[in-house]
Amino acid sequence: MRVNPNIVPDILADLQQSQVSLNTALQQVSTGKSVNQPSDNPAAAAAMVQNTIETGDVDQYTQNVSSALSTVQSASSALSSVVTELTQAVSVGTAGATGTNSSANLQSMVGQVQGILSSVVSQANTSVGGVYLFGGTGTSTPYTPDPSSPYGYTYNGNSDVNSVAVGDDISVQVNVPGSQIFSNSSNNVLGSLSNLIAALQSGDSSAISSATTAVDSAVNYVGQQQVLYSNAESQLNSQETNLQQDTVSLTSQANNLIGANLATAATNLSQAEVENSAAMAAAAKVLPNTLLDYLEPPS
C-alpha cells in the first residue's frame, strides 16, 4: 500500500503534542497548581468559589473570636473588680451596723462607701477601643452624675446587645448592658450603695444593716451576671478550635481541588522534556531522507 510520503504534518503534530505536555507540566511545577484555569477541571474550579469565600470568612471569624475574647475578658475582669469592691462595702456596712460606732467613724465609713461607689461607676464606664462595655449599643458614657436620680447617676446607654459573628450563622453575645448589671430595677447595684451611704449618714443601725444586706445580694447578682461572660468566653474558645479545624480542612480541600502533586508534576516535566527532545531528534533524522541521497549523480 502506498503511504503518505509527506510526513511533515505528522511530525509537526507530534512536536506540538509534546510541546503542549511540556507547557502543562511546566505550568504545574511553576504555579504549584493543577488547575490554572476553569477548563483544567471545571468541577474543581466551581468548588473553589465556595472554598475561597469560606477561607476568607474563617480568617475573619478567627480575628473576630480574638477581639470578642478580649472584650469579654475585659468585661469579666471589670465585674470581678466590682464584686471585690462590693464585698468591701459589705464589710464596711457590717461594721457600721454594730451600733457602737462614733459619728466620726460613721463619717469615715460614708467616705469609704462613696469611694467604692465612684470606683464601681468608673468600672461601669469601662471602654475598650472607644467602645463602652456596659453601655448597651450606645456610644455615650454609660453613667454620669445626676443629683435628681435616686442613686445619683443617670444611665445614658440602652438595653440592646451586640452579637459578633464568629461563624456562618454563629454569633456570640459580647455585652450585657449596664441597665441590666448596675441599675436593674430589682437589683440596683448603684442604688444599694447609695442607700448604704444614706443609712451610714443617718447612723440608724437597722437601716445600715438592711442596706448592707441589699449590697450583699448585689454581690451575688453581679456574680451571676459575670457567668454570662464566662459562658461567652468558653463558647468563643471552643469556636476558636472549630475555626482552626476549618482552616485546616479548607486548606486541604483547596489543595486536593487545585493543588498539583509536585512529585508527579516534576516527573511529568522531565518525561515531557524527554519526549519533546526525542520527537525533535526523530524529526531531524527522518525529514531530509530521499532516494536522491543514495543515487550516484549522473556523470
Binding site: P9, S39, A45, A46, T55, N64, V131, T139, S163
Partner: protein, 459 residues
C-alpha cells in the same frame, strides 16, 4: 522496407511516450511541495498489431492521458472535518479568552464575594470602626467592578466574534468567486480536451479554504460543481457565484444575508463563521444572562437587607448597590450607590454602636437568592459551565484535528508526490527513452545498410 518503417514509427512513439512520462515526472517533482497538488501519472497503452501479408502493421504505444490521483470521497470528508475544525477552533479560542475572567485570579467575582463577606464579618466585630466600614464599602465597590469587568470581558469576546462574522463573509465571497472562475476554466479545458487536473487541484484547495470558513455541501451537476451552505443557500453554481452580505441587525450585531436578502444567520453552521455566530448568539448570551440574573438578585437582596437597618447617621438604610434603570445588562452596569461608609446600615436599633443589621447583610451571602441558589453557588455554577464548555471545545478541537490529520494522511497516501517514486520513475523513463532512441538509431543503421546493398559490389 514496410517492416522497418513500422519499427521506426514504433521507436518514435516510444520516444514520444517516454518524453511525456518524463515531463509528467518532472512536473510532479517540481510540484512536490505545492499545496493541493495531486500526483499525476501517465496512462500508456499498447497499440493493436495486425499481421498483413507476413508483415506486422501497427503496434507501438500511445499516451492515453495524464491522470491526477484523486479520491473525491476523501476530499469531501476532509472538507467536512475542516468545517468542523473551523468552528471548534473559533469556539475554543473564544472560550479560552472568556474563561480567564472566571479563573481564581484574586480579582474575580468569587474573590470579591469573599472579601465582601469577610469585611462584613469584621464589621460585626467592630461596628463603629470607620476603617471596618470603609472596607465594606470598598469590598462592595470591588465586587461591582468585578461584575463590570466580567461582563465587559464577555461582551468583548462577543464583539470580537461579531468582527469575525464580517471578515468571514468577505473572505467567503472572494473564495466563491475564485471557485466560480475555476469552474469556468475547468469546463473550457475539459471541452477542449485538455488535462484539467491542475485546475481541479486549485479548486479543491479553494473549496477547502471555504470549508474552514463555513460548512458547505458540494455536489456535481450538469453545470459543473455546485456549492451550497449546509442549509441549502447557493454559493456557487458552475461558473456563477452568489455573494453573501453582512448587515447590521437590530441587536447591533452583523447579520448574514444571502444574495436575495434573506437573513440566514441562524442557519449557518460550521467553519469560522458558524463558530463565531454560535459564540456570539448562543454561548456568550447564555453566560451574560446568568451573570445579569446574579447581579440583579444579589444587589436586590443586599439592598433589601440594607433597608432593614439604620446607618451611622441615624437614617434608614438606603440601597447599597444601584442597577441600570433599564433593567438590562445589570452586571455591566452595577455600581455602589452609597457615597460614604457612614451610609452602611449597620445598626438594627438606631444607635451608633449597634451591629444588629450586619448579620442581615452577611446573610445575603449565605442565603438563597430568588433563584434558589446562594450567590456563591450561582456563581460557581457559571464557573463550572464556562470551564466545562472551554474544556469540551478544546477537546473537540483536538479530536477533530487528529481526525483531520488522519484523513490528510490518507489523502497524502493517494495524492501526494513521493520523491523516491518520482526518482525511480525518472530512471525508468530515462532508460525507456534511451532504449527508444536506440531503436531509431538501429533502424537508421538498418536502412543505410539496406540502401547500401545495391552499391556494394562485394555483396
Amino acid at each position: 522496407m514496410g517492416g522497418l518503417r513500422t519499427a521506426l514509427t514504433i521507436g518514435v512513439q516510444a520516444l514520444d511516450v517516454s518524453e511525456a512520462a518524463l515531463d509528467t515526472t518532472s512536473n510532479n517533482i517540481a510540484n512536490a511541495d505545492t499545496p493541493g497538488y495531486t500526483d499525476e501519472t501517465v496512462d500508456i497503452s499498447a497499440n493493436p498489431t495486425t499481421l498483413s501479408g507476413g508483415d506486422i502493421v501497427g503496434g507501438g504505444a500511445t499516451l492515453d492521458q495524464v491522470n491526477s490521483s484523486r479520491d473525491e470521497l476523501l476530499n469531501q470528508q476532509i472538507q467536512q472535518q475542516t468545517s468542523l475544525e473551523g468552528s471548534a477552533n473559533t469556539e475554543s479560542a473564544a472560550l479560552q479568552q472568556v474563561q480567564t475572567y472566571f479563573g481564581n485570579t484574586g480579582t474575580d467575582i468569587a474573590s470579591q464575594l469573599a472579601s465582601l463577606s469577610s469585611s462584613l464579618a469584621a464589621l460585626s466585630a467592630s461596628p463603629s470602626s470607620e476603617s471596618a466600614q470603609q472596607s465594606v464599602l470598598a469590598a462592595g465597590q470591588s465586587l461591582a467592578q468585578a461584575f463590570n469587568t466580567t461582563a465587559a470581558g464577555l461582551t468583548g469576546a462577543q464583539s470580537q466574534a461579531d468582527g469575525q462574522v464580517t471578515s468571514s463573509v468577505s473572505q467567503i465571497n472572494s473564495l466563491t468567486q475564485q471557485i466560480a472562475q475555476l469552474n469556468g476554466e475547468l469546463a473550457q479545458a475539459t471541452a477542449s480536451g485538455q488535462n484539467g487536473g491542475v485546475l481541479e487541484d486549485q479548486r479543491d484547495q479553494v473549496v477547502q479554504q471555504l470549508s474552514s470558513l463555513v460548512g458547505v455541501s458540494v455536489s456535481q451537476s450538469s453545470q459543473g460543481e455546485v456549492i451550497t451552505t449546509a442549509n441549502g443557500t447557493p454559493l456557487v453554481m458552475g461558473s456563477q457565484s452568489f455573494s453573501l452580505q453582512s448587515v447590521t441587525g437590530s441587536n447591533g450585531f452583523q447579520q448574514v444575508e444571502d444574495a436575495n436578502g434573506n437573513n440566514i444567520t441562524g442557519d449557518l453552521q460550521g467553519g469560522q463563521l458558524g463558530g463565531a455566530i454560535q459564540v456570539r448568539d448562543q454561548t456568550i448570551p447564555g453566560y451574560l444572562s446568568q451573570l445579569n440574573t446574579l447581579a440583579t438578585q444579589f444587589a436586590g437582596s443586599f439592598n433589601d437587607a440594607q433597608a432593614l437597618g439604620t446607618d451611622s447617621n441615624g437614617n434608614a438604610g438606603q440601597p447599597f448597590f444601584s442597577l441600570p434603570a433599564s433593567g438590562q445588562d445589570a452586571a455591566a452596569g452595577i455600581s455602589v450607590a452609597l457615597t460614604s461608609p457612614s451610609q452602611i446600615a449597620i445598626s438594627s436599633d438606631g444607635s451608633a454602636g449597634s451591629n444588629g443589621n450586619v448579620a442581615n447583610l452577611s446573610a445575603v451571602l449565605t442565603s438563597p437568592l430568588p433563584s434558589g441558589q446562594t450567590p456563591a453557588n450561582a456563581y460557581a455554577g457559571l464557573v463550572f459551565q464556562v470551564g466545562n464548555d472551554a474544556s469540551s471545545a478544546g477537546t473537540e478541537s483536538t479530536a477533530i484535528g487528529q481526525n483531520l490529520l488522519q484523513l490528510t494522511n490518507q489523502q497524502g497516501s493517494v495524492s501526494a508526490v513521493n520523491i523516491d517514486e518520482e526518482t525511480a520513475n525518472l530512471i525508468r523513463y530515462q532508460t525507456a527513452y534511451e532504449a527508444g532512441a536506440r531503436i531509431v538509431s538501429t533502424i537508421q543503421q538498418l536502412s543505410t545498410d539496406t540502401l547500401d546493398m545495391g552499391s556494394n559490389q562485394d555483396y
